[in-house]
Amino acid sequence: MIKILNAALAIVAGVGGMLALFWILNLLVERLPGRWEERIKPYVFIGPAIAIVGLFLVYPAVQTVIFSFADKNSQKWVGFENYTALWDDENFRAALVNNLLWILVVPAASVLVGLLIAVLADRLRPGNEKIAKSVIFMPMAISFVGASTIWRFIYDTRFAEGDEQIGLLSAITTGLGFDPVAWLRLDSWNVNDFLLMVIMIWLQAGFAMVLLSAAVKGVPDDTLEAARIDGANELQIFFRVVVPQIWPTVIVVFTTVLILVMKVFDIVYVMTGGNADTDVVANIFVEEMIEFGDDGRAAAVVVVLMIAVIPVMIYQVRRFRMQEAGR
């Protein structure tokens, strides 16, 4: 009860306080002589937002960069030692490669699967389309950890003779007469990495489908009709007429999934703990920070990840600006 009261009080005080702050600042600015009022007013309203972003985003980021040049307790400077140590760490390099694989495969696969379902579902009767899409969308509501738990029952394998297979995949393969396989330890050709990626694709395909489906439905019928009159077949219509028109949505879905994939952690942590060459960068960060207590190297890992995300961000912002300019 006290907690609820506290929360209510915090909301009232927080929102009210902000309102009061803006109101008072506004009042003060309005008393300034004409030209100055106009000059300062925008900063009065944008200022608190900038201050908050600075405090909670810029400051920690800068502090992280600083700590990445210090030792494990952030007490002594060590120069670039953390970075060279990371580079010499075979595990970290493998994690970089794995992250790259995730980035290459998961967004593309999510878009492809989502697009396929969107186009096919578009041809169903409206009632059936709703049901089909709901089922595909449902995994979106499951947390990564929950999804991993579900998929454990697909990849689980029992090796002792006489034990019944409770994992779906192993039940099928041993049922067909093959030997049991430790799926998540198949590290040749990164098979285990791909098995983990399937979980993420399963989770994200629904999201891709919803956006792409809306885009597909937004393609004007007269363009399709014009193509048909010109004698184009269905495949030609899809690739030459539909795809170019939904391309901006494809890019949005792709980059959104991409940014999510750069942060991949939970699935790997729960399923393999990074064993058998499945480590990813975020997992190494948690290991360094919490298990090994090495703040310096953990910070260096984050800086590397931060730098890796920058190109994607720049591309996103540019595209957004272009879109805005086109309007």
Binding site: A70, A276, G293
Partner: protein, 436 residues
């Protein structure tokens, strides 16, 4: 254009201010400082799960009745994370029960753990704790933690009725053990149940095995050199111990489900085939806590169902004697007030644990502890076995820096059992990851 430049200058200004304010943390003071007056309550957190801590809570309630100091124990499911965030956030619990001494010494480095010599009578403590136990938390002659629970790891469990029926004998020496394994295999039985799956912590069961073998083949002195990095991790003695372990886990038919099975079976579940009828295996090496994972009907009458012996020693050409490998929980004081000091004195006394012993599943780290307090026959038997041991050594991976002991040592042993890495390369990879 002019406006844009002005805002750029402003941004640069803000950034440099932040850069100058964001400096490094200073060195902390050494020593425990002045003891402040307590406020009548003491908070303890630890990694001992609630169901295992029932006895501890009873123990603490009895203490509260005697002294009037309220003591609370909270079990943390993610202890390492919680203690690190609370300490670095400036809100440490009064006392923390650490499952790994390495983590205590980490906090000694940052000045967060208090040296106990200033707070309690540590000479008395050293007098009655199992020899070797306190070395793991002693830095520059200062003791930083009090052992409150001991785990005996070198225990081999077996299904009593079937074991006797098959005519097997409890092995006395390592050679006996090898002969027994062979006999079981030729009888068409599986000697060992061995499961190492433990989520992100997968691998600790294997490192325990390697430590057991190190103690027996190379002896306690070399073992100490190994855990303190006096000898490199890829020393021949270590590689040989890993290979010896490989013979147990890689020999066809020696481990239930083979190496792949041991990698995929959760450690808690792996004991279950031992107590099935007929048993799926005849031996399982695991610490005394494993009884809590056995089915309830087995737990109800342990002595009739399972027997226990110490993993034999007396290796030919190795250490002459039977060592015991153990672990434990260690209480470190993080806040210095008079109530905390009183609780620490209580934890450090040899009488501590009478209530806990009555609950079962607990071993006292004190040699002066009255064994008649143990409620069950199995507990008394284990206490007896431990007291008969020629030497006691603390779990080696818990003594090594976390990057090795909770990192590469686990990972590389997993790769070794999985067949992706041979013993020599695994040891070299671990050696390269050792940060001093």
């Amino acid at each position: 254009m002019a406006r844009r430049r002005r805002s750029a200058i402003a941004l640069a200004g803000i950034t440099t201010t932040i850069l100058f304010t964001g400096c490094l943390a200073g060195e902390d003071d050494e020593g425990a400082g002045e003891t402040e007056d307590g406020d009548g309550s003491v908070e303890i957190i630890g990694a001992i799960p609630e169901e295992e801590a029932v006895g501890l809570v009873k123990e603490l309630e009895a203490f509260t009745e005697d002294t009037g100091i309220e003591v609370s124990y909270t079990a943390s499911t993610d202890f390492t994370t919680e203690i690190r965030t609370r300490v670095s956030g400036g809100d440490p619990p009064d006392i923390a029960l650490f499952p790994q001494p390495g983590l205590v010494t980490d906090l000694v480095d940052t000045g967060d753990a208090l040296p106990l010599n200033d707070l309690i009578d540590t000479d008395d403590l050293e007098g009655h704790i199992v020899p070797g136990f306190l070395d793991s938390v002693t830095v520059d002659d200062e003791v930083y933690a009090v052992p409150v629970r001991m785990a005996a790891k070198s225990l081999v469990w077996y299904p009593v009725p079937e074991f006797e029926e098959a005519g097997y004998q409890v092995p006395e020496t390592w050679a006996d053990l090898e002969a027994l394994q062979e006999q079981m295999r030729s009888d068409g039985e599986t000697p060992w149940c061995l499961g190492a799956e433990s989520g992100a912590d997968t691998g600790w069961v294997y490192t325990d095995w390697v430590e057991e073998i190190m103690l027996r083949t190379a002896g306690p002195d070399v073992y100490d050199d190994w855990t303190s990095h006096e000898i490199p991790f890829d020393d021949d003695a270590v590689v040989e111990a890993v290979e010896q372990f490989g013979e147990i886990v890689h020999t066809e038919g020696n481990v239930r489900g083979g190496p792949d099975g041991s990698l995929n079976t959760p450690f808690g579940e792996s004991v279950l085939p031992l107590v099935e009828d007929p048993p799926g295996c005849f031996m399982h090496r695991q610490a005394n806590f494993i009884t809590t994972f056995m089915p309830e009907d087995v737990q109800a009458d342990l002595p009739a169902n399972v027997g226990v012996f110490v993993l034999p020693g007396d290796v030919e050409g190795g250490f002459e004697g039977t060592p015991v490998l153990g672990g434990g929980d260690l209480a470190a004081a993080l806040v210095n007030d008079s109530d905390v000091v009183e609780v620490m004195e209580f934890l450090a006394s040899s009488d501590f644990g009478a209530e806990w012993a009555a609950e079962g599943g607990w071993l006292s780290p004190s040699v002066e502890f009255d064994t008649s307090n143990y409620a069950t026959e199995i507990d008394q038997q284990i206490a007896e076995l431990v007291s008969q041991a020629d030497v006691f050594r603390f779990d080696g991976s818990d003594l090594m820096p976390a990057a090795v002991g909770a990192g590469t040592f686990w990972d590389e042993m997993v790769a070794f059992v999985g067949g992706e890495q041979d013993a020599g390369d695994a040891a070299t990879a671990i050696e390269e990851s050792w940060r001093d």
